[in-house]
Assembly symmetry: C2
Homo-oligomer: 331 residues x 2
DNA sequence: TTGAAAGCGGTACCAC
DNA sequence: GTGGTACCGCTTTCAA
């Protein structure tokens, strides 16, 4: 592999000049530039990115931490990030945090040791304080989580609005008794979605009813259990709004096991619009979570603030939207 | 950030010695080692991985190319790779090839420019010759594709067996007329799966019937179209074996649109066991593709051959297995 | 066992 | 505009 030194020799110029034409950093005479370019061609020269990183103190890499590398949700996000970043020659190093404090910190530590220029994080275990502290040490952008004090670094979804839209859709369809299967309430976005649900209810002049509320776990089994519980209560309802698609699937399966027809007997709504929602039967109505777009935006944040792509605009808040499919019907 | 130089100064030893204790490379006196370790502690020293890479000519990174970063299948694979590699301090750089020749070559070029120590590839557009040539230049391990001439570098699934198991299961359930919806025949694994299907038929003394065969595209819409075609032909069948889960979903949806009950009227089998197969209704029977395990094994190959983890064993061929769920029934 | 020093392949500042 | 050169932080002979 040819080095910059051999190129300079062949072109009959200095190292510095070769470096200049590579980076287009300073003015180089037309003739000189061409000599260098040609020498590069002839030697099939490829810059050594490691050496560049060491000398420039910039690794051209950004670390991305997700809860799980598999999982449709994160796939979309990573895909958005990869796309945006590779188009400008940066690379993304992935790591999984598994929603566990130690594991998340470990992964972040790892990414830092790799000298990432910035970190894109989707974390739910570490504390806000930790993130605030981390952000002093290395640039961080946080996905789907608002951390007070680093607002500019957060790319969020308006979860409250999502919760609102979901329930509002049911109300608009004429449903009066709407059950709600929530996610784990220690998560902020879960509480926001719930708040949206309550706002829709209130706007319609209906009271929030504890008897129609269950806290789930975001997994399918949790959806089954929650539905089971709702059914056992014998408090009537014609619609169920779930805080994510997995639980909605569980709820549908459970309802079916109880000989209930969907959507004739009960309408079901999910949240996230992950790929599986298009494959359920009946196809699940849900709230679209633009994970890919948000990932892309996180990458854009990095481009703008770390790689000085100043003209770029970043959007910190995204809006969810309603996706109506077959799991809901008019009451 | 402290450097090795400051550590050496503080410990009152030379640079070289510090380096030695970091790498455990050569014998270092107990006392000296402790002095160094302590100095590191006190300075909160973290080695600069970029500098290490430059000096050692080893980037400790491996590139992973998948068709799409999203998509459950690749998620599992990447997850396996990430897990295995991070546990030994290596990092994985991801890129997407989008099943397009130029795009795949681009991504590989990109990964090489990042000085990856090895490449783990899931590609379907580039040719065998290209891969062979590439492998001379940089270590490559190929996932789910057998390239003659670099057998040791391929981690494959016994697709033929998978195809066999799928059809065999239908035969065992008493089905006589079994339709087959294939993937794009230009892909090797597709032809292998088909070969397995034929073998099962033959063993049962049944002839392969062109009228019950359709070439699909691996997507849901293709599954719908294929099923539509089968139904139009009016040639009777009681079971459909599909070359992947997406098409199986399409086939199920289409059948349902034609008022056919699954599995009472027609049994359906998929292939891959991606996450969606657990969410369809009825739950899809399928052939398990251990994508995560295979990704992990690819990573192990790299550990063994590139990072000299000699005792590791690598398994080049994986066996698929039958997963029976609700979409099939006895005839 | 330990130290000195020559790289690894670039970047960037300072002269000219 | 171009060249000289001191780093960037670590690895790895080669001697001692």
């Amino acid at each position: 592999m040819a080095t910059i030194y051999q190129v300079s020799e062949r072109a009959g110029v200095s190292l510095a000049t070769v470096s200049r034409v590579m980076n287009g950093s300073a003015k180089v005479g037309e003739a000189t530039r061409n000599k260098v370019l040609q020498a590069m061609q002839e030697l099939n020269y490829r810059p050594n990115s490691i050496a560049q990183s060491l000398a420039s103190n910039c690794s051209n890499s950004v670390g991305m931490l997700v809860s799980e590398v598999h999982g449709p949700f994160f796939g979309e996000m990573m895909s958005g990030v990869e796309n945006e970043l590779r188009s400008v020659g940066k690379h993304v190093i992935i790591a999984a945090g598994h929603s566990d404090v130690e594991s998340e910190k470990d992964a972040i530590e790892f990414l830092i040791s790799r000298k990432c220029d910035a970190l894109i994080l989707h974390v739910d275990a570490v504390s806000d304080e930790y993130l605030l502290e981390l952000n002093k040490q290395t640039p961080v952008v946080v996905l789907n989580r608002h951390v007070a004090g680093m607002d500019e670094n957060c790319i969020c979804l308006n979860n409250e609005l999502g919760g609102y839209l979901a329930t509002k859709a049911m109300l608009d369809l004429g449903h009066q008794q709407i059950a709600y299967i929530s996610g784990p309430l220690f998560k902020l976005d879960v509480r926001e979605r719930l708040a949206g649900h309550k706002r829709a209810l209130q706007e319609a002049g209906r009271a929030f009813d504890e008897g129609l509320f269950v806290e789930g776990d975001f997994h399918e089994a949790g959806g089954v259990a929650a539905m089971e519980q709702l059914l056992k209560h014998k408090q009537p309802f014609s619609a169920v709004v779930c805080a994510n698609d997995e639980m909605a699937c569980g709820a549908m399966n459970c309802a079916r096991d109880h000989q209930l027809d969907i959507p004739a007997d009960v309408s079901i709504m999910g949240f996230d619009n992950v790929i599986i929602s298009r494959y359920t039967f009946p196809h699940l109505s849900t709230i679209d979570f633009p994970a890919g777009e948000m990932g892309r935006m996180a990458a854009r944040w990095v481009r703008k603030h770390i790689y000085q792509d100043d003209k770029l605009k970043v959007q910190n808040l995204f809006e969810p939207s309603l996706v109506l499919r077959d799991s809901v019907s008019r009451r």
